[in-house]
Each structure stands twice: as C-alpha cells, then as structure tokens.
Amino acid sequence: MPIHDQGYRHYTGERALHGRGWWVIARAGVLDRLRERRFLALLLFAWSLFVVRAVQLYFGETMARAVFFAPTERTFQLFLEQQRLFVFFITVYAGAGLIASDRQSHALQIYLSKPITRNEYIAGKLLTLAIFLAGVTWVPAMLLLVLQVLFSGSLEFVAGHPRLVPAMTLASALQVALAAVTMVALSSLSRSRRFASMLYAGMVIFAAAIARVLEASTGQPGWALLSPERTLLVVNGAIFGAGSDSAVPLAVATGALAALFAACIAILERRVRAVDIVA
C-alpha cells in the first residue's frame, strides 16, 4: 500500500498568536535537561550549602548560646557569593550546548523557518538556563529568609533589613543574567558544546587567575576588571551596601559589566542569523 494512503487530515484547531515561541523553547529546554539524572544530581548537590545555612539559621535562632550563628545581611550575601561555584557548573552543563548543539545539527534553520523571531529564539535559550540558575541562587536565598522567619517566629529580622529582599533579588538577577548571557553567547560561537564549555571556563577561571597575577605584579587594582566574576563581586557588594575588597570603583565595575553584556548581545546578533537558515 502506498504510504500516502494512510491519510492526512487538515488541521482545523486552534493556532496561537505569534510571540510565545520563547516560552515553548524554554519549557522544552528545561524538561529535556530534567530528564538527565546526572543533571538532577548536580542540582541537588547545588542545594548542599542551603542545608548548611539552614542548620546554621536553626541554631542561631533557637539556641541562645549559638548567637554567633544569628543571621545578618552578610549571611545572605555570602550565601549568594558561595553559590557561584554551582552557578559555574550548572552554566557549563546546561548552557554550553544551548546554541552550539543547534548549530551542529542545523536546527537553527528549523527554528527560524517557524513563526518565531531571532529574539524569541535567543530569549528561549536564555530563559532555559536562567530558570536553573535562579533555582540555585534566588530560590534558596529566599527560602533561607523564610526559614529564618519560621525559626525565629517573628518578622523582626525582615522588617529590620528592608533592603535585603530587593538586594538578594537584584544580586541573583545580575548573577544569573551574567552567566546566562555570556554562556549563550559563547555557545553561539561554536558547533561544539565542549568548545563552548572551555571558552566559558577560560573566561571565568583563567581570566580571574590572570587578573590576580597582573594585579599583584603591577599593583594596579584595575586588572580585576579582566575577571567578570570579580567585577560582579564589586557590584554585589554595593547592592548589599557592604562594599568590596577590590579598589575598583563601582561605576567602573558597572560599566565593565554593561560592556560585557553589550558584547554578548552583539555576538548573538551576529551568530544567530536568519540567513543561516538555508545552507
């Protein structure tokens, strides 16, 4: 029997308006990643510091002799800074292949022949990574605050630190956005997920190392700007009102991060091109 005799029916159902492609891409990306046991294990491991901090909060709030465990704004700032390690691993694991794999399998021409724009495609990829990163930064940080309220039995701490929630939200958002945008941009540069991972690792680890060496050898604190991570710490310090170890002015650090964002957007603009659709 010829295969076309098995029937083809015209579709008469609902069709969504344009503009939701980013959500379809993000949802598929998240669900796809969550099917991997190794990744789930990594996500779980990324909450280990949360457990440690939760225990600390418990003792700090319930035992009079453990007053040194009592939370301060710095506790939450430190928690977010310590989560950088997991942000790095999750970014590499879940982000390196976001565009690189699509480029390798020529999937871009499939995506861009559908009624979605390049911006929707990029937004979907960014959101995929951002959801996981927020899940190991903002979500546990806010949960820690909830635990603090539950353990202390009062809202006194939250009321006494009114800028803590906005600061945690802003600092997390900045951390997530920086990691997501740079990883997705680097992923668009290659067809190899491994190569994109190496680029990102180089940018985070080696840039920090080089910055420290140059700082130490020249005595110029400005070299810290070579490292996005250290630049972010300067901005985070200002967000929490705690300052930072670096002598780099806040305005310069903010400008450097803005320049990095702009460079990443320029890369994405150049690499995710509609004309790539027909090879």
């Binding site: 794999s101 699509d102 009624p115 509609a274």
Partner: protein, 313 residues
Amino acid sequence: MNRSGPSDRSVVLEHVTVRYGRHEALRDVSAEFPPGAIGLLGPNGAGKSTLIKALLGLLPPASGRMRVLGYDVRESPLAVRARVGYMPESDAHIPGMTAVSFVSYCGELAGLPRANAIQRAHEVLFYVGLGEARYRTIETYSTGMKQRIKLAQALVHDPDLLFLDEPTNGMDPKGRDEMLALVRDIATTKAITLILSSHLLPDVEYACEHVVVLHKGAVATQGPISALKGASGRLFEVRVKGDEARFADALRAEGIECHVDGGGEMRVFVPEDGGSRLLFQVAVRHGVQVRHLRASVPSLEDVFARALSEEEP
C-alpha cells in the same frame, strides 16, 4: 486563532533584487507560482536558495515586492512562516529528541497548542511512513528516514505552502519513489501548494506541473511543463560521425536548435515544416555522416537546456 488572513494561495515576485554585499544573487526577478506543484530549477548558484530565503522573509530584498499566500513578505514575515512549511536540504534535527517529540515541538513552535501538536505529530509521522519508528531518537535514523522526518516537521502545522529543498537527496530508489509519491499526493489530493527545489529533473517532472528555471539570478523560463516541452518543432536524437561541434554550429546557423551532451548524442529540434530533410542537408554540406536518427519526446531536461542556452550571451 483559527486560520485567517488572505486566502490567495499563490506566490508572486515583482522585480525582486537580492544582494549579498555587491553581488546580486537575484536580479529583477518577476515570477508567479500558481497553486499546485511548482518545480524550482537551476544550476548551482542560480539563486534558488536565495529565493527560498527571501520568500521565508529571512532575507530582505534590495528592491521589489513579494507576496506569499496574499501576505506581503516584508511586512508580515511571521504570518507567512505560520502558513508555510520548510523542508531544508541539509540534515536538520534537534539532538536527543525522538521523532514524535521533535515533530510535536515543531508544531508548538508553529503555534499549535501542545495537545494538538502531539496528536498531529503522530498523524503526520504515520503519513510520511515513520509511524513504527516514531519513538526512536532521530540520530538513529537512516538518511531516508531523516528526509521523511524533515517533511513531517514541515507538515505538522498543516501549511498552505511547502518549500521542499532537494527532498530526495541521499535516498535509495525505493525511498525516492515513495518520497515523490508523497510529494505528488500532497500537491494533488491534499491541496497544499508546494515549491520543489531540485537539481534532479526527473523528480521535478514527476511531481510538478509548473516549473520556474533560474539562471544566474534571473528567471530563464517559467510556465507549465507541458507547454514548455511542446514548444516548437520535432525532436530528434542524433549521433554523427565527423566534427560534431562544427555540425552543431552549422545547425544553429540554420536556425535549428541543437543541444550536445557529453556522450556524443545531440538533441535536435527540427522545425515542423522542414522535418529531418533539413538536418541531412546540413550534414551533407559539412561532410558529416548521420549514424543515428531517432524521433524523441521533449523532456524537462530539454526545457532546462534550452532555457539556459537562451540565457547565455
């Protein structure tokens, strides 16, 4: 949103010029693709891929106007792509996905609700002959199966217009026949207009009624294949002993159309009134022996060769 908007099923290009920097990939192209199956032919670099890019709204033309299914491509590229299916030439899939998840994902990207997209994915995969293999990951598919999955993703949202770029590439003869049968079925019984870009003339001749031949970024010829094939005179296959090239030039000097293939065979269009006598007269005058003369039927290859030769300076 149900299907709405202009109901025109055709594709119209008016004086379209597309440039890559200084290079003009399409030069003042005016063409009309009526409903049905239309073949897009042309040698490498003729501008076929550029034309498809432009029609998908991905490459803005430097000048001219394009209308696809009644939409102006420049003004409404998303509306165009919502009603168009595109089967790319190169191997294209989303890694790690099974066929059914890939096709339903493409349906969702095209605007179908999730449940409907899944249902359509199953139906379309059966239609293209991948029903039994729909839960396998695409990486495990053969070349022929990958061609079918590309067709399935282009069909899942039930487009009004399909762009098929070399749909039989890499397929074995049986698979190729089945793919062509599908293509013909889509255009005829499913009433989906399709534009088939291929370098395989027999594929186009089998599946299409109309053809547009591009050469060096311009339309060399276009129209119904039957009309183009029966253009003028009678066709003979000729083999000669002697200076074949000089003989061909002599025929052309007499106003007789003549195409020489690499195998020493000539396809000669002789005017109805002169018949084969004129051909023999030219052969005698130039001292050439006609060793083989057989009446033939014009094919799309003749249309193609004629169109390209007319374009040459």
